[in-house]
Structure formats: structure tokens, C-alpha cells
Amino acid sequence: MTGRRGGRPLVPAYLSTGGVARPSRTHLERLSVLTCSGGRAPTDLPAAQAALLEELGHGSLTVVEAAALLRLPVSAVLVLAADLLDRDLVLARAPIPPARRFDPDLLKRVADGLRDLKHR
């Protein structure tokens, strides 16, 4: 069984019709934050890239959030975002670097923030 949700195709059409991942120099991951650069999009932008750009026009999104809103696999959004980065239409910011994630100050801020949530 494939395609549980409303018969949506599993592999977006553009991936099977010659959409090629250009190796972008910026490392992208699930929690990379994507923001519009404000650059003007060419009129012949492929539809899927245009759809991502349009979503980002309403504000920044992580890769996973964009994938959820566009109903695309994360792997597809990584390709689209890399294309838009190469065109300078999108900026990407990385999440916490793995080496910094156990920084005691960061962890304490997470714990304090969670505790505050409880007292609301």
C-alpha cells in the first residue's frame, strides 16, 4: 500500500521529470531556517520552487515546516531549497551546531523556559 493520504503522488512529478539537485555549498538540514532574500524571482521559476518561495513570502520556515505545508517529502524540499539558495532567492540559517547543543547555559535556558510554561 502506498499513498495513504488522499492519493497524493509519493514522488513529486518534478523529481521524476528531470529536476536535478545542484550541489549547493550551504549545508541544509531538517531544522535549517529558510528566509526569502528579497531578490526578484525570474518568471520562469519552476513551479515547485515558486511554491516554496511563495510560502516563505509569508515568513521564515524550517525545512520540515515547509515540507509539511507544501506536502512534500523533506528530501524534495532540501533539493528545492538548495536550488533557491543557488539562485540567491533564499537565505538559510543553521540550527544549533551539534557541538554547542549541550552548552550548560543553553540547557538551563531550555529548562527554565519549560518550567515557566507550566505556571501559565
Binding site: G3, V11, P73, V74, F102, G113
Partner: protein, 208 residues
């Protein structure tokens, strides 16, 4: 599971409020994991500030081969839904929670989502403790720090002592073990806090 086919009624608005606030600076994540039907989606829904979203993840060939061995033929591609939610904390921290299935056959996906995570909250159903062995194996092999939360299902057996439960799960003495009602925000936050406090107290070494 009903959660796989029916969408959940939720009055948080869709779409508009998903975009990140400009104050978002430090994005961190915790995996909420465990076997089927243990309460992963429920916990994320009870604490997330956004209506929980999900991505459809394509399973890799490795997983497809496992399915083939199980007798499922001609299965080209399958997907699994990964729910996630988000909590904005003061100081620009945004905590993401990923509901990650704990079956061995999702290992590659698991490792991909676990990359860079603070740790994992492992939900356990006391009615079927052995269903959690797979996920504990995955977590330990990934090197992620973790805490265990027993969900309070009404018909869960109550005669086990904490020592018996620890022994059954083969937990390290320092691994936090709490009970949690995933339907309650405060209870779910306490379980997350047990994990974060564990990270503060034990200064995890840099995982692989």
C-alpha cells in the same frame, strides 16, 4: 491506529502561525519516541504551540528490503508520517519535538532525525514493556541521551516496583524514569524537564 488515517480535530489555526517569529534564534530538538500507539502524537499535541504538523518520509531501500523479507512483494516506495511540534521559549530558543517511531526498520530515518538532537524522551506502555526494547536499542546505539516516561494508561499494571521496571528495561541507574500522562501539557512538560535536567546534571559527552 486511528492516528494514521484520520486527521485530528484541532482548533489551532493552520498555516498562518507556523511561520517562525523573528525572535527565533537557537533551534533545538528532542525526539519523542516509542512503539506504535504509545502516545507520541498525543504528547506533542499537548505541548506544541502550533497545530502539530507532519512530514511524509520516504523509506529507504534498506527498509524496503526488510519489508520484502517479511513477504511484501512489489512494494516500490512507502512513506511514514513523522509528526512534529514546536515550543518557543524565552531568549529566542525554539524547541522542536519530533515523534519518531521506534521500530528497528526505521533506523536510517531515526538516525537522520536524531542528528544534532539534545536527546530522546522514550515513551513506554507498562502493559507491553517488551514493545520498547527495539527503541531502547536504537536510542542507545545512536548515543543520544534519553529519559524514560511511562504513560499512565488506565489499565496499566500497578504491581511493578520502579526497581523491577528499571531491571526489565535494563536502564542505567542515572537514566531518569518518570510517569507521564501524555494528554496533559504539564505532565508532558515534566517528562521533558526530566530529560533536560538529566542533560544538565550529567554533561553528556559529545555523541558520535
Amino acid at each position: 491506529m486511528a492516528s494514521a488515517t484520520s486527521s485530528t480535530v484541532d482548533d489551532r489555526p493552520a498555516g498562518a502561525d507556523v511561520h517562525l517569529p523573528d525572535t527565533a534564534r537557537d533551534l533545538v530538538k528532542i525526539l519523542v519516541t516509542g512503539p506504535f500507539g504509545v502516545g507520541k502524537t498525543t504528547l506533542i499535541r499537548s505541548v506544541s504551540e502550533i497545530r502539530p504538523l507532519h512530514t511524509e518520509e520516504l523509506l529507504t531501500e534498506a527498509s524496503a528490503q526488510v519489508d520484502d523479507l517479511a513477504g511484501v512483494r512489489e512494494k516500490s516506495t512507502t512513506t511514514v508520517a513523522i509528526d512534529f511540534g514546536r515550543i518557543s521559549l524565552p531568549g529566542g530558543i525554539v524547541l522542536y519535538l519530533f515523534g519518531t517511531p521506534g521500530q528497528e526498520r526505521f533506523r536510517e530515518l531515526w538516525d537522520d532525525i536524531a542528528y544534532g538532537a539534545l536527546g530522546a524522551l522514550v515513551l513506554v506502555d507498562a502493559r507491553r514493556i517488551d514493545a520498547s526494547f527495539d527503541v531502547l536499542g536504537l536510542v542507545e546505539e545512536s548515543g543520544l541521551p534519553y529519559a524514560v516516561a511511562f504513560n499512565t494508561f488506565p489499565d496499566a499494571p500497578r504491581h511493578h516496583t520502579p526497581e523491577q521496571l528499571r531491571a526489565a528495561l535494563d536502564l542505567e541507574p542515572t537514566t531518569p524514569m518518570v510517569t507521564c500522562d501524555a494528554r496533559e501539557a504539564d505532565s508532558s512538560i515534566d517528562a521533558l524537564l526530566a530529560l533536560v535536567q538529566h542533560l544538565i546534571d550529567h554533561h553528556p559527552p559529545e555523541p558520535r
